[in-house]
Symmetry: D2
Subunit: 353 residues, 4 copies
């Protein structure tokens, strides 16, 4: 499967090093940390990065195999790179109003017969996100958007994608196992068991570029995390979420979340749950990206347009249809059905532009 | 509702002090820590303990209001006792082969028009449990069994109960929020998200009579806890459960559980969850007992016999019917329906013996 | 001992409720949480608040017994108030340039024969701190300064105090058991044992006025916390200190600190220490204030001027003499000697104005 | 330096793999996790294992480089072995009454010009410990004893060693950073700050042979851990120590300790410290062994007999002299002085038998 990536950060480092890690293993072995070894006939190891866009001086002009280790990237070097191609990082879209930059992305996507474009730039560049979305749609290439800057959520792009027959998968990645899902699940458990929440907090720390950004963009993230909790529990007013307490250098790409839940049980007696979650932040993203890019590729190969329902539970802001409850049930079934197809059944088709 | 209790331990102390605590409050207030303020028309504060059995010298002959504070009981004194009656603790069944002891329990239950007998002796006395079960059934009194020593699980008693028209509610209480449910939920979440479990442990500590017993009876408890986990996850072989690491005096009736979960995510990167749960052990039991005794009373008043399906999710070893999945769905509906009835609608009927 | 207090916040609430708590107890009992039951002959319960200054509308005009519970104060109400006097809170110094305000404080201190003035306003008002210091010195009253805004550290005030024969005790309180001392002790232990520090963080959360202020004044606090660590360990560059991750409402006056220490042992194998400290923030202050005000009173009664050496280890920025090491040794000896005097030996003298 | 090892467990695996790890590094680099890069002129990398004794079928007859990975050993394979010699493991002392076995150990120690014998068998074999001690003394070889089974503590062996001019270093290793020292330090800090201890526990878990043994020998360990605490604090009766809560397979050679400290501060307000310590158990031992074997070698080369005072703080049961306090001060000075000698100054002498 031919993948292009825009934004060569830790997520891309985790993605390509992880694919290499699994290529080292015997195909009959279990793949640790992989939710779906096969999706729609595509193996984890079937993904090839064939094009890479960035604007940083440290990365443009470098081969992908080196750019993924350029600062401020700090995902660990696993020594597991097994690239089939090692494309040079080319200049992407720096100025979203420059039509030539957009056209040149479109051109490259076409020439290289890219099937899916993965958008993975730092959060906070909505115009750039839209420009990449448009470039991909014009090229007839499916889009996966990891970030909260909307692509699939823009009516204008959605219409274009439909008329071009291109699937849009977004927006904003769910983590493989993040603090929102752990915190939300425990709060929901408490509510279900009938205990009375007194108060709760969640505080996150990390040392990668995301956490540096959060010091300035924290308010949006806090709102988005509260939204995520509100889907699970009632009393979010008793919950304080601190998306980033600060930048902790030595953690590098690791993320730590401390969560505390205080409640009242029978006869007003206290109940406490104290939780610490530690993850490799970008592995936590790449473990979900690997599913999204395959879902996008399969949808495109099968000529499906619009939002592929199977991606619903893998996104924080999926494109919602009329009946969200039914969508969520369908999503599980579609995902399970894709996961049960044999390897190698993924029919490869030409780009449909 | 007229309740008899057998075994005046911490659970009974928590139960009666808690009822008193809620009696202090204005009826319009929310009740902290109460899952169902009303069940089948019965309020939490509608429960009266009218008979109490024990065999300990420190408790027999004492009024209930004093016996609940006799050693080794160590649930805190909340200063909230508001008993409507304060029965003297009478000798219960010390020798399960002594028919006279059983008959005298039956006699008292009848005389005092008891509706439900709550069996709450220390674990490890199966013959005594059976004897109390028989005494109650003969008196036409419903039984709630908090312990793993079987009552509802004995075919012989079940048959007698059916022919006498008496509901049997058991066996073995689920905690309001216990380490099994927290640990199991997090392990299940990990499995659902597709991470690979490396290993996990759960270690429990406490300072009440249960923990003193566990030092000798730990193996049974470990098996029961593993059974509980197996309902939720697949790889229980990678999970070590230590029901009691030892008796920690200063914790008294509090219980602490440390849980650690180590897993592998994308590219074999580590994921860790470290959890500490702190509860008041007997409040954790009483918060569920209050529902079970009301379910038992309602079933008896309405002339229902056998196992009341609504109790299914509140027990570790509920009586299972042909279709457990359907039973579990029905249980939720029945419980919700009981919870939605207004206070005061519980029709009081005469014992049906 | 006749004490005046400036700034009726949580610290004062903790102080006076705590004194009341210990008054309830039999004098022969141990006093939980009290480092020195007696200092220089003064018992914990010998302290009387006879004057109280504030500028908040909610507090001025109220008796002390009510002002300590006015918002934003949120130290718990212990129900242990046993005041011998209940002074009305009077207007203190709002404008440090207003000489009349200063003079009126001096006047009241004299009239009420105050021995010690405790300065406890919110941090960040250095001019107000100086004004209170001057008012007290003029009245011949000893000063204890809880805050980092300098009083004892000002050469100008120090000279005036010397010439007036008034002791100055400050600046900035050590906590009874705070995150700096716990974190620093563990890092020092690691260093002493020869492990190599990889990185460490400390993150603090709370819900009182201090934490609300810290969101804006965090940088100073971070610097002060790093200074405290530097006294204990070498590699502070590998340590990230976050004085306030944010304001967590439900914690009220409680404070939580999460600390994590990662190091390398033999063969580069990892060593981890994860620590959570939970305290009642203002009890943590009052437990030290009670010693400082007695040290100040004793020094004044004995006609000692300048900085009482015994206070050295109880302050973050004590007044340092020529030989700090010797001072620190002397401080311990003086403190131990004061603690060994019998109750009632404290000679009471008239104010020395 | 020529070292013989008796008992090829995880500690020896950690020791020789660690030495190899440091041999890989440039000599000018810092050595992570090493307390004393040089002691008495000996570098960490100057130690060579030239003889190895064991009785297990899986180990005898194997080269050391393989025996260290034989079950039940489970210290990780670091891939850092850089042995200068790779001695075959030979049968050691299985029957302490068999004089021929002892004589054959003595003979080999002499032939191979061994300077120090490291005794590291599983705890609980005091007769075997004594036999190895005697074999070494007869050969004029210094002894380091890692275990609580006494060697240096036996008057009889001490006398023989003195007359033979052989240093005895023991008994029982302090960990590099263990739960006793962390727990004790925090409890002492609390005491020093004047808080009142309510209660505390320490619970340890691991997955190596030591933890399997502890299930049966736990009582001795608990006593020894309490002894260690008693040196630091007064109220050990309020502290519960659980040396092994159980064997947790997936931890392998890692060890986890959970510690909880509950205290009362001013006005009886609660203070909590919750600590988790995670270490690689055998690295924690090897990091101290590397100092002890060098101290033993230096003492022997310099013709010093008896107990080398510098080892005092590295042992749980050091040989105590008339004035323990002075010994402890001297120990620090001697250790610091040894650490300040240059590499290569260690004068090599012939065995002094």
């Amino acid at each position: 499967m031919r993948l292009a990536v825009a934004g060569i950060g830790n997520n891309i480092s985790a993605l390509v090093q992880g694919i290499g890690f699994y290529r080292q293993r015997d195909s009959s072995e279990q793949l640790p940390g992989v939710t779906h070894p096969i999706l729609g006939g595509l193996r984890v190891t079937d993904i090839d990065v064939v094009a890479a866009f960035d604007v940083s001086e440290a990365k443009v002009g470098q081969p992908l195999s080196e750019a993924i280790f350029a600062a401020p990237n700090n995902y660990p070097e696993l020594g597991t790179l097994r690239l089939t191609e090692d494309p040079e990082v080319v200049p992407g879209i720096a100025d979203p109003d420059d039509k030539q930059q957009i056209a040149s992305v479109t051109k490259l996507l076409r020439e290289l017969e890219v099937e899916v474009l993965l958008y993975s730039l730092p959060t906070g560049l909505p115009e750039v996100a839209r420009a990449y979305g448009r470039a991909a749609i014009t090229a007839g290439v499916a889009v996966v958007n990891c970030t909260p800057d909307p692509i699939a959520g823009l009516t204008e792009l959605r219409d274009e994608a439909l008329s071009q027959g291109v699937p849009l998968v977004g927006d904003d990645l769910q983590s493989h196992l993040g603090s929102s899902v752990v915190h939300g699940s425990l709060l929901a458990l408490l509510e279900e068991r009938g205990l009375t929440l007194s108060g709760s907090y969640q505080v996150n720390m990390g040392g990668n570029a995301d956490f540096a950004n959060l010091r300035t963009h924290g308010a949006n993230k806090e709102a988005s995390k509260h939204r995520a909790l509100r889907q699970k529990i009632n009393h979010t007013d008793r919950v304080t979420v601190i998306p980033s307490a600060g930048f902790v250098t030595h953690l590098n790409d690791r993320k730590v979340a401390h969560m505390s839940i205080e409640a009242r049980g029978w006869a007003d007696m206290p109940v406490r749950l104290d939780v610490t979650l530690q993850v490799q932040d970008s592995s936590n993203a790449a473990g979900v990206i690997i599913d999204l890019v395959r879902i996008a590729a399969i949808a495109r190969r099968r000529g499906e347009t619009g939002f592929p329902v199977a991606a619903t539970s893998l996104l924080k802001s999926p494109t919602l249809m009329e009946d969200p409850l039914r969508q969520s049930v369908n999503a599980r079934e579609f995902l399970a059905s894709l996961a049960s197809e044999n390897a190698g059944t993924a029919e490869k088709s030409e780009p449909t532009d």
